[in-house]
Amino acid sequence: MAKIERAQKLFLDSLNQKFKGQDIESEKTTFYNFNGVRQSPRKREFMKEAEAIEKERGISMYDPERCHLGGIPMGQRQLMSYQVSGTGTYCEGDDLHFVNNAAMQQFWDDIRRTVIVGMDMAHATLQKRLGKEVTPETINEYLHILNHAMPGAAVVQEHMVETHPGLVDDCYVKVFTGDDEMADDIEPQFLIDVNKLFGEEQAESLKAEVGKSMYQAIHIPTIVSRTCDGGTTSRWSAMQIGMSFIAAYRMCAGEAAVADLSYAAKHAGVVQMGSLLPARRARGPNEPGGIKFGLFGDIIQADRKHPNDPARASLEVVGAGVMLFDQIWLGSYMSGGVGFTQYATAAYTDNILDEFTYYGMDYLKDKYDFDYTAPSPDQILEPTQDIVNDLATEVNLNAMEQYEQFPTMMEDHFGGSQRAGVMAAACGLTCSISTGNSNAGLNGWYLSMLMHKEGWSRLGFFGYDLQDQCGSANSLAMDADRGLMGELRGPNYPNYAMNVGHQGEYAAIVSGAHYGRGDEFCYSPLVKICFADPSLKFDFSDPRREFARGAVREFMPAGERSLVIPAR
């Protein structure tokens, strides 16, 4: 290891903006003179709003100057703003709470309301069992009917109630296939065009994986999956698929063949985004805890947008992953807390993790002549223990030194868990991007943790004692119930299941292994294609930008009820 110099540190702009007029390298400042909670425009907005609510409902609410610390409001120190990394957009911390950010909600809504359903089994049933003809024309007609039915409209029965299209306008179905000829015959409105959405090499590879099969990318209404749950998605979708087949192919509604179609649509042909969790987690399929890290790397599309920057693509996975897994999954679903927001935001604000990661990229170039801007299996490094140790040590030492040299950055990441997650992520990403091996990346993560803990005699909250001080021993293990390749691990992997500040970064480390190799996908070509669809409400190629738009209230979500409630 040998320290290298980077001329332009990416976090400087943020620190200068956050701590305006202050020397960001000084270890001294003033406290207790910020006018408490009122220094924040957002908190003042909250107080004003609460005042109006109290008058209307007659029950007290948000009252930070009375209820916080017996009359000492927060804001005895500076309440900082944040830049969403890579966007140049500044917002307040509150704007990154998932409750306050419509883009964050829609990100999760769009995943939860999605299933992919194969059409081959249904077509085989129609052709072989029922003797029906399946042609591009019948498929297009079926898709037309399905896009009528999927949002909640009737296709066969009389005197049915239906959903208001204005409430379910985000619901639709498209198809994709690896067969260019067949794709040409599908109406463009119903087609996810692999050739247009991906670069040439990536498209060819994805098409080869899909082959002549055809898949439906189904997005049920946001409002439905919100009212019900992720397990509803495949059921809702299967119900409308079955009715649409009946209508499109003039089948008898009660004949036994319908059961085959239903079984294919509900079970045999379904790709869920998240697998079913054990009963003790009390969650069905398509809930965050069941999303494998490799699959998550395919949901995020930043590698399409930044094919020659695996670091940037991975950092987008970090941002998306920590938002879903820390803020929503662990922060609320699992813990019942109000969202572990600031554990997560540390990893996608102020360009701090970005700087640490690009330091790793520069170090790779300097010492190993590894050019991260030219991802290819040909240049990846052998994932030896010595190389992982060297990379993780240097990236971690640099990160610690940056925190030390810029006390305002340490103040920005005021909690040990924030720093631990960020430093270890930079180490893990450097190792995985360069070796193309997700488990080598995880191993780099755990060396960072040990090094961090010994250097500063502290790490994160109690949870870090659990996985991070024993992670070295399972990071390369493949034994059942003890180890697994990174792509197949997920938020419910035994050691990861209850620990904030890790899962999003793990997903990125896993993804980085593939982005660094220039792979066309991480885990599932079907998922990669499905989420490339530009008709989705959330743009999965740029999640941090979308979160920033949500923070400044520019993101328009789905599932709004304004059509059926009194005007305000």
């Binding site: 400042t29 000492i72 040590t393 040299q405 040990g416 060396l447 005699s457 070295s472």
Partner: protein, 254 residues
């Protein structure tokens, strides 16, 4: 052959300070005198002079079962008396505070008996029987493990360990439990949980930067000793990580 603890690797002053704090044979330098009454006031668990509340009758008065473990383990004074379990929690600044969370836990485990420490990034708590706690706290506050400006006793609202220091050199505390008085002495005006005290408790003058750098147990490239410079320490961590990766927790040297 008797086991000789090595306490930890490293050639730096930080590494040596860590070993010193952990090693019960090393006599910690006494830096200040704090009265027993003042310790009790800052802890805030009972009024000075009041009896210790109990969780059970004294061991001598209750029928102890015929248990070999109870014969083997000698109870502490607090356990003998049936004291309740209480706590002290410290927040240590990263700007060269003399002790740091894990370091505290390690040192306490070597030096104290019947304790239950908890270690986080911004605070370290240790729980034990109340009269034992008062003795332990006295040692932790009076010796080289404490600095009045950079270490503070905080039951809750501990935020501050990683923040810049106030212009007077004090660690941030939203509750301002302790303040630097005009005479240069740090005074606790609230107990560790933040309840105002009937009278201020003087805890001594902050140590100077030179002393802090010489006594700190945290690496810090800006105000102290750079981690990178202690090569033995770094290599040792890499070795531990490598052995655990290859062999789990029962490593065999190659």
């Amino acid at each position: 052959m008797a086991y000789t603890p090595q306490y930890g690797p490293g050639t730096s002053v930080v590494a040596q300070n860590r070993r010193n704090q952990m090693n019960p044979d090393h006599k910690l330098e006494k830096v200040r005198d704090i009265t027993d009454e003042d310790i009790v006031m800052v802890l805030g668990h009972r009024s000075p002079g009041s009896a210790y509340p109990t969780a059970h009758p004294p061991l001598a008065e209750q029928q102890e079962p015929d248990c070999p473990m109870r014969k083997l383990v000698k109870p502490t004074d607090g356990a003998k008396a049936g004291d309740r379990v209480r706590y002290v929690q410290f927040a240590d600044s990263m700007f060269n505070a003399p002790s740091q969370p894990y370091q505290r836990t390690y040192a306490e485990m070597y030096r104290f008996r019947a304790i239950d420490p908890g270690t986080l990034s911004g605070r370290q708590i240790v729980e034990c029987r109340e009269r034992d706690l008062e003795q332990y706290t006295k040692l932790l506050v009076e010796t080289e493990m404490f600095d009045p400006a950079l270490v503070s006793m905080r039951g809750a609202t501990v935020h501050g360990h990683s923040l810049r220091l106030s212009e007077d050199g004090m660690q941030f505390d939203a509750l301002q439990r302790c303040v630097l008085a005009e005479n240069g002495v740090v005074k606790y005006v609230k107990d560790q949980i933040g309840v105002p005290l009937d009278r201020a408790v003087e805890i001594g003058k902050p140590m100077d930067a030179e002393w802090l750098k010489a006594h700190s147990t945290i690496f810090h490239s800006l105000v102290g000793t750079a981690y990178r410079d202690d090569k033995e320490y770094i290599e040792y961590i890499q070795r531990i990580h490598t052995l655990r990766t290859k062999y789990g927790f029962m490593p065999t040297e190659e």
